[in-house]
């Protein structure tokens, strides 16, 4: 009883959370201050928790006995369906925050709408996670302002960080045939309709941070179809090492 559209959609949701959670975990023990270390690790944990729920659902939709761990640790790059934004390297703290700012504001709007999904599991995960994502948004928004409107150094770094991540924003609001069908059946959210609100939120914070929006440029896309940047492979090689070296290992 394979539901391949639901499998794809749940993988996209889960992969976004998993990959960004993994990226944030790279900061653990390396952040500029203890509080930031705790914050980023906490956000990472929330995201990995979301991923666990979404990938479990994906495995059930697939109906071939794969659980969340099997999907996380035994898929290769081409089978990952996350957006390109979340796999981008951490760079410096400013680039990490710029990435989080674009993503968390998107995810909060998305989850707010997914609470009404016709798929009860997706609705339950979203209702649970949306309260946590509100924290991520506050953290990212506050740091955007603190760095953008901070010292000459922090401002220059934030401008560069924002410039780096900006091209990956468009993909968040793409709809393809898979989502089109699920939107029609009330399972998925039409993210195109969230774009104006996201634009407004982003513009408001940038204005508060005295930052200019970067110049529009052609968006980088392809993650939803498994066409990734080189960065994802490196991330997976670290994240999946143990299960690849010792398949099925438990402890």
């Amino acid at each position: 009883m394979r539901d391949s559209a639901l499998f794809d959609y749940a993988c996209r949701l889960g992969d976004d959370s998993l990959i960004l959670g993994q990226r944030l975990s790279e900061w653990c023990g390396h952040a500029p201050m203890l509080e930031i270390d705790l914050s980023l690790a906490n956000v990472g944990l929330d995201l990995i928790g979301q991923a666990t729920h979404f990938l479990k659902l994906a495995g059930e939709a697939e109906g071939e006995g794969r659980d969340a761990d099997a999907l996380a640790f035994h898929r290769d790059v081409l089978d990952y369906k996350n957006c390109l934004l979340v796999e981008q390297p951490n760079g410096d703290f400013a680039q990490t925050i710029a990435r989080q700012f674009l993503f968390s504001n998107y995810q909060e709007l998305l989850f707010r709408e997914l609470c009404a999904s016709k798929n009860v599991t997706i609705a339950a995960i979203a209702a649970k996670a949306v309260k946590e994502v509100a924290y991520h948004v506050r953290l990212a928004n506050e740091w955007m302002v603190r760095l953008g409107d901070g010292t000459a150094e922090s401002r220059a770094r934030m401008i560069a960080g924002l410039e780096w991540v900006w091209r990956f924003g468009e993909e968040l609001f793409d709809v393809d045939a898979v989502t089109e069908a699920l939107i029609a059946s009330g399972v998925a959210v039409d993210v195109r309709q969230l774009k104006p609100e996201w634009d407004g939120r982003v513009a408001k914070v940038l204005a508060e941070a005295s930052l200019e929006p970067p110049k529009p440029r052609r968006g980088a896309k392809g993650g939803r179809e498994g066409h990734h940047s080189e960065h994802l492979g490196h991330l997976l090689s670290e994240m999946q090492f143990l299960q690849r070296a010792y398949p099925g290992a438990q402890w």
Binding site: E35, S39, A127, K128, L139
Partner: protein, 150 residues
Amino acid sequence: MVTMTAALKNRVLEILSHVSDPEIPCVSVVDLGIVREVTDDAVVITPTYTGCPATLAIEADIRTALDRAGLSTMKIETTLSPPWSTDWISDAGHEKLRAYGIAPPSRSVAQCPRCGSSHTEELSRFGSTPCKSLHRCLDCREPFDRFKCH
């Protein structure tokens, strides 16, 4: 299958009331509202925070407690809906947290669990675990954790 009597349900709840939260051992999984209900053949639990790393440990601890009590046929089921919030923490749970030195969740300003003052400030919204934030009392000057209102 034997239908579970009220007495047996109470016994299960009593057993679970001795299963501590692995991160905050002063409160039990019942105090925290992690245990949703006891059905005829299962204990239904709900995770607190989506990413709480203690979730698996909690499930394992409940399993051990049930097995020790000879209830190894009871299953553990997980539900996400309605989502857990700090409103599920019992009044007894609030008191135990305060006595342990963690300000219980509240909609108003954090109260110092040591001297009771409301003259406090937030130091970090993200604390030592996903469920806590870090505060400082401006009267007795002690730093303290607060259970995030959620």
